[in-house]
């Protein structure tokens, strides 16, 4: 789409875009280019000399079992976060859409976790599940469960999944509620007259009509689990126990900042960039389709 009426000036448009372009070049393109450049370098142990090694860092990464297991961890983690977040918020949104009174109150009481920083969400849940003093731990022990996420990998994974999902429910809920409210009432009524019960109506009419929203939320939740959950992990398990919760973003940070492996960390950054680019492309193709329909 283009404007028919435009203004003319030889310099003004450049002045107007200058601030954004300057920030973009300094803080996006320059660092991204450097990440690509560093990913081809191998530094010695003291960081004094570096050598151009072509794709050696990438080859090393793909041979590194830790890196491959971090991929698996990320896949499991983002699947669990996306699936549980979508399922729970779809249930709540469907219920909120069904009740006649109080829908706005429920909405207000469900959306606030969006405002909580991931790191704070992690701390809140880590406190509830704290191995020796946590209140939830107390009840888990009472029913006979040996709960200590600092020792048991699946429990650590569960903790970061719960904290990450909790924070994301409000977002999914709002989009599902908007999606549900845009479904024409006449369709539901027609199905009801034909004798379809509430479950049948949900699965044959409501759910298919919500599929664009669901797919959109799936992509958003995966991106969220990939990147925004860094704070959750860093504030709770820090990738542990062992590497049980070390997702890709955390590994980039750990290898680059804590272990000072510039080349390896940059190569991981480059791989992550490719993942983000593919996710963004998927998202945009989807948005284009949504516009046409």
């Amino acid at each position: 789409m283009e404007k028919r009426v435009v203004f003319r000036s030889a310099w003004l448009p450049y002045v107007l875009v200058a601030p954004q372009i300057a920030i973009t070049v300094i803080f996006f393109f320059w660092p991204a280019a450097q990440a690509v450049y560093y990913s081809f370098l191998l530094q010695d142990a003291f960081g004094l000399k570096s050598q151009f090694v072509w794709f050696q860092n990438f080859v090393d990464l793909l041979r590194d079992t830790n890196y491959l297991s971090s991929f698996r961890t990320t896949a499991v983690f983002s699947f669990l976060v996306a699936a549980s977040g979508i399922a729970i918020s779809l249930l709540l949104a469907t219920m909120a859409n069904a009740v006649v009174r109080g829908a706005l109150v429920y909405k207000t009481l469900l959306i606030w976790p969006y405002a909580v920083a991931p790191a704070i969400a992690g701390i809140l849940w880590a406190f509830l599940f704290a191995p020796s003093i946590g209140i939830v731990t107390y009840y888990l022990k009472w029913i006979g469960l040996d709960w200590n996420w600092m020792m048991h990998s699946p429990q650590a994974m569960l903790l970061v999944v719960v904290a990450s999902t909790w924070k994301q429910i409000s977002y999914n809920f709002l989009f599902f509620l908007a999606g549900l409210q845009s479904i024409p009432k006449s369709l539901i009524e027609a199905a009801a007259i034909d004798g379809a019960g509430p479950f049948r109506r949900f699965w044959t009419i409501v759910f298919p009509l919500l599929s664009p929203t669901t797919f959109f939320l799936l992509v958003i939740n995966i991106v969220y689990a990939f990147f925004d959950t860094f704070g959750v992990i860093d504030a709770t398990t820090q990738g542990g126990p062992g590497n049980a919760t070390e997702i890709l973003v955390y590994k980039v940070y750990y290898d680059g900042v804590k272990a000072a492996d510039l080349g390896g960390s940059s190569a991981q950054s480059v791989i992550l960039m490719f993942i983000v680019i593919s996710l963004t492309v998927v998202q945009f193709r989807f948005v284009e389709r949504k516009v046409q329909y």
Partner: protein, 282 residues
């Protein structure tokens, strides 16, 4: 709904109430812990009713920080967080509205090139380029400064897109009329475009304020001095040791202080918040 069934209505309310309680439970426990003493919290199971040390705990963290972990006062951190969140939100809106205006209302060489440059930044979240960005910031002398906290976070493709989409819906007749009346582009911007964009600016502001307030990885890297900590970073630094040695009453008071401002913004400006969420993801 279609048919009225009291049982089904009851089940819906029940599920929603369970949902609301499950979502609010961590917050309640956090609040309770922030009003209790250390001894009360570590006596398992911790009581779930409000204690009597609310004032003591909050006064302590606001002015003196924790005792065993970081000693930086949280009052200062809240100010830092506020400065960072406001500057990121306003900065993003400022640079985006200008560049979107230029891209929509002017034809100039490199216009498409600039547009794509901004578009591509969508694909480079800060998490994937932390180390080089840190180097750039340190080369520019931005470590431990407000500029360092703010500038790398204010380039945003989403805000530019949102304004561009909106500007494209402004009727051409308005620009035409302005031109016939002899108004220049900036006059048109301030008298027509800016007032029309008010609701979009409000919606974006809510979303960006929360985004700015909740920044974590970047402030973690760039702030070394306690005086520059934001509250989200500060609370992490209070968690020093294991489970029973952390001063949970102070950590939880800080957590409350860290989450209340953005939560209040969401609840009080709910209309703008929902609009902002839906629009920025288009």
């Amino acid at each position: 709904m279609v048919e009225h069934r009291p049982v089904r209505d009851f089940v819906a309310h029940l599920i929603l109430i369970v949902g609301v309680i499950a979502v609010a439970f961590p917050l309640w426990v956090t609040f309770v812990a922030s009003t209790r003493t250390f001894e009360e919290i570590v006596s398992v199971p911790m009581p779930l009713t409000v204690g009597s040390h609310l004032q003591d705990n909050y006064e302590q963290v606001l002015t003196a920080g924790s005792e065993r972990g970081s000693k930086a006062p949280v009052g200062r951190m809240l100010v830092n967080s506020l400065i960072m969140a406001l500057s990121i939100a306003l900065g993003k809106i400022f640079i985006s509205i200008l560049s979107a205006f230029a891209i929509v209302y002017f034809r100039f060489p490199l216009r498409n090139f600039f547009f794509w440059m901004i578009f591509v930044t969508l694909m480079l979240p800060i998490e994937v380029r932390i180390i080089p960005t840190f180097k750039v910031a340190s080369d520019l002398g931005l470590l431990d400064s407000y500029a360092g906290l703010i500038l790398p976070a204010i380039a945003s493709a989403t805000a530019t897109f949102l304004f561009r989409q909106f500007f494209l819906t402004i009727p051409d007749e308005l620009a035409e009329a302005a031109r016939i009346d002899g108004a220049g582009p900036m006059r048109f911007f301030f008298d027509v475009v800016l007032p029309l964009s008010k609701t979009h600016i409000a919606a974006l502001f809510v979303i960006l304020f929360i985004y700015g307030w909740n920044q974590y990885l970047w402030p973690l890297l760039i702030t070394a001095q306690e005086s520059m900590y934001t509250v989200v970073i500060g609370i992490k630094r209070m968690i020093a040791g294991g489970d029973a040695s952390n001063e949970w009453q102070l950590i939880m008071a800080t957590a409350m202080l860290a989450l209340l401002p953005p939560a209040a913004v969401v609840m009080l400006m709910q209309k703008w918040f929902v609009k902002g969420l839906v629009e920025t993801e288009k």
